[in-house]
Subunit: 540 residues, 2 copies
């Protein structure tokens, strides 16, 4: 055939993109629907912006560059304007808040769910299109807005199926960090680069450890591959101040350990001692792995000690003191809303890499353990993060517009629900009506119509009906629970045969028919009873 | 300020794009969720492909053109591959069907809902990003698959709120048209251009009328602006054949009229006569405008007459005869499924502009009348269309893969539901807890927490609380049903005040307090009764 000479297009997604089938779609949708319900209850309104924005509005890239596609997918319009696919849901929100500032309620609470695009090197499990699920409050400078976001995040996690005790929302405040920078003599505009290095170094403490971070604060650090990362050039004394912040929780736990060791008998009879013991058991001992849970007392103790510790290290820095006060206010507001510190707690280790945060920052971590690809136990980790960013809308309007919000990593949270066996997509296959006699297609169509009208998911086999084995293979691939069969004999008698495919699969698997003998894998019923009989089989 | 010197980015969507707020999002979602439920019941599985495809896979454009962005948004990858945003949901399906042909069940029933992008001149109500909602069956050549799509479309329309009688799914078959082309001597490969002109001419009959179409079939047509469109160059005899098809319904109604005029008294006593009378009343008389509905008899009559008429005009053309037989089979299958011809009917006027259809084509029309922008009555028109396309997957694999499907115009259908007052988005605003005393924010947060925990949508006011009037203005903008107020006095007494804002608005509108006097616009209740009292007020 001449066809063979034609170069055919490749049937492939572009590199880094993928397709989602069946339950992958419904599971995600079910989760997002539940989250949307929580957001709605909190008074947040949905917003759906277009996928395409001007590069200028997105704000990370300059239109005078020849091809500004670092990180984004961008192209030039016929009017020579640069357009791009959005890389997150925050930049479009800032644009909307500026564009509609006279029409939107203020404060404006909005949520958004949808895909975003990143023109980055794809990797295993890292795609160039993925979902985000954000909620933000624009126009409120009150920490009550931050507290509300944290509470809503906790509610959302519990609603989708992460029980209390399996997650913790950690709250910190950039202002505290700024206070620490001031104390360390890193406050001026000319110290911007150093502060950036410090921020990124602290963010890596889980991976690099105390020594690694200290090296980055000083001259720099050579990694195992021999690559050298330039440090912030801090003096020993400056680095001590920063490390006091970066290692805050460790230091607090050290002090708690000392307290426990020094406690006399009278002290040991106090509830405070019990709380401290539990605190250490879980944060440093085998407590978490053994499934021990914090008590309100143990985490309240941690919160109090943390706030006191932070007060100490920010010293007389105004911004630092304000930061600690805001954290205390957030803790109080959440307490009044009924949120225990086992759900939401102050944790100075959270700094969040993004430069634009200006106040409270938060991160939701799942604390239950999973096995990593090497079979080692590790806690699941972060699924959401956010914070206060008071500068994004100002880019457009020149006026201060405070804002705060959170973004849930949809794929991470879905993976967590799968790990917990709490995925909720409807994966039930349809009842398959087989075709024994091509000329009686109308009869088979009327059977599926009856089933569908009764709310039962059903299909007639639409492939070539010649080979009946193929029809059953098809039903198997569709994970069909029941096959309906009507050959000429049955048609004459006015009956149909129902094959219980789930039972059939179980019998095939267990190979002991014995235990199933009371339950027939196949029944013949009058055509008029089709719907009732299928319903009965589905209910078994 | 130096700020003024900085050129700020414009806070604007790119030309032709828009944002969707609140109820615009939830209304669409509610409609699509209902449609998805119907598709699911029919055994269709969701598929979500990425927004980005290779230009090669999309298939309309060649990668050797310098900038292939006619109609699509396209850009060149860092590997020099051309990528583009999908312009519909069918091209990605064809790619998926080819890419996963060994893994997918066959036939493969899938539905897809999501945005598509067109790089076209935007106009009023015409955007460059819009939603499509498709369902297709790939791998079945049986007309039962086409009939199923039609039935599902009818179910979907009724489920979202278009009642029986307000819509009709019209079915035609490209094979009939091909038969007509054969009869008219337009069958050969060398007549491709002529056939294209004929197809597009027939598709415009509603707008151009009989004379306009006839001109396009002949030498060509000059429109009012003086622009000349070249015609297909058909002879008078050829054009007669084509017009016999294009005007089929008119000719059939003419014959019915003649029959009625000629009928003697005996004939007039037949049900057939009654059916024919009703048929003409509705199709040509004032019947539809007066809300008269077809009976099964009247549309069955139309179907029979149409099939007979089509049989006549395709003569001995094999493809034409096959087309008419397929239409008859579809009508029979739908009848067996319980679908009356008042829901789905044969209508030769449907040809569908797209070149790739190869068999049955369908279009769903809403028949109720609306007022156009000039205040004239007109019937709402098309909201969905589709058909059989057996060539799209072959592009990739070289093998024949039959497919059929439908696409619902999401915005059109939403507009129809709005016109019918059946829009179902949840637009209820939240209860607003006002802030009388900034220092007692924790108390107000605990009130919203109680309300939210009881499932009531609620917010605390997060703006600057100084001006209480602003808080009530905010509640008004949020369409809040109830405002909760607790000043110092109430706090001391342990009470809260509830303001019924809906009642307040009604009183303000009617200006007669008299009729509302039994219902208090404001109540004071114990703080402990907050949830119960709000619930009561919401239920009124």
């Amino acid at each position: 055939m001449s066809d063979a000479k034609i170069r055919r297009p490749k049937a492939e997604t572009p590199k880094g993109f993928r397709d989602y089938f069946g339950a992958e779609v419904t599971t995600r949708k079910a989760m997002l629907d539940k989250i949307a319900e929580v957001y709605h209850r909190y008074g947040f309104d949905p917003l759906e912006t277009s996928a395409v924005e001007t590069v200028e509005a997105l704000g990370k890239f300059l239109p005078d560059v020849d091809r500004p596609n670092e990180g984004v997918f961008a192209w030039q319009d016929e009017d020579k304007d640069w357009l791009a696919l959005r890389y997150d849901l925050t930049a479009p929100l800032a644009r909307v808040a500026a564009q509609y500032r006279n029409d939107l309620p203020s404060p404006y609470r909005r949520y958004a769910m949808g895909p975003v695009w990143r023109n980055e090197k794809p990797g295993p499990g890292r795609f160039r299109q993925f979902y985000q699920c954000d909620a933000d409050t624009v126009g409120s400078g009150s920490v009550a807005a931050d507290a509300e976001i944290c509470a809503m995040l906790a509610d959302a996690l519990e609603t989708v199926g992460i029980p209390r005790g399996d997650y913790v929302v950690k709250v910190n405040n950039r202002k505290v960090l700024n206070g620490v920078m001031e104390v360390a003599g890193l406050a001026g505009d000319d110290k911007d680069a150093e502060r950036g290095i410090v921020l990124r170094a602290i963010d890596k403490i889980d991976r690099l450890g105390e020594d690694g971070v200290r090296a980055l604060l000083g001259e720099g650090r050579k990694d195992e591959s021999g690559d050298f990362t330039k440090g912030a050039g801090l003096s020993e004394a400056q680095a001590d101040v920063v490390m006091g912040f970066a290692m805050a929780i460790d230091r607090i736990l050290d002090r708690t350990q000392t307290y426990l060791e020094d406690a006399d008998e009278a002290e040991q009879n106090r509830q405070y001692y019990e709380d401290a013991k539990r605190l250490l058991l879980i944060e440093r001992g085998a407590g978490r792995a053994d499934g021990e849970k914090h008590t309100l007392g143990s985490v309240r103790l941690l919160n109090t000690r943390t706030l006191n510790y932070l007060s100490d290290i920010v010293g007389t820095s105004k911004i630092g003191i304000q930061g600690v006060e805001e954290l205390k206010e957030i803790a109080d507001l959440l307490g009044a809303g009924g949120y225990g510190p086992d759900q939401i707690r102050i944790d100075p280790s959270v700094v969040r890499g993004l430069g634009y945060y200006t106040g409270p920052v938060f991160e939701a971590e799942l604390t239950f353990e999973i096995l990593d690809e090497k079979g080692r136990k590790r806690s699941f980790g972060s699924v959401a993060g956010g914070g206060r960013y008071d500068g994004l809308v100002k880019r457009f309007t020149g006026q201060d517009v405070p804002a705060t919000g959170v973004s849930i990593g949809v794929d991470r949270l879905l993976a967590a629900l799968r790990a917990k066996g709490r995925s909720t997509g409807d994966t039930a296959g349809p009842v398959v009506v087989t075709v024994m006699d091509r000329d009686r297609m109308a009869d088979y169509m009327s059977m599926v119509a009856d089933l569908r009208n009764a709310g039962i998911r059903a299909e007639v086999y639409l492939g070539n009906p010649k080979n009946f084995g193929n029809q059953l293979k098809y039903a198997d691939k569709r994970q069909s629970p029941v096959a309906v069969i009507q050959g000429g004999n049955e048609a004459e008698k006015g009956t149909v045969i129902l094959k219980d495919l789930i039972l059939g699969a179980q019998i095939a698997k267990d190979a002991t028919l014995e235990e199933w003998k009371d339950r027939p894998a196949q029944v013949e019923v009058p055509r008029a009873d089709l719907v009732a009989a299928v319903r009965k089989m589905l209910a078994q």
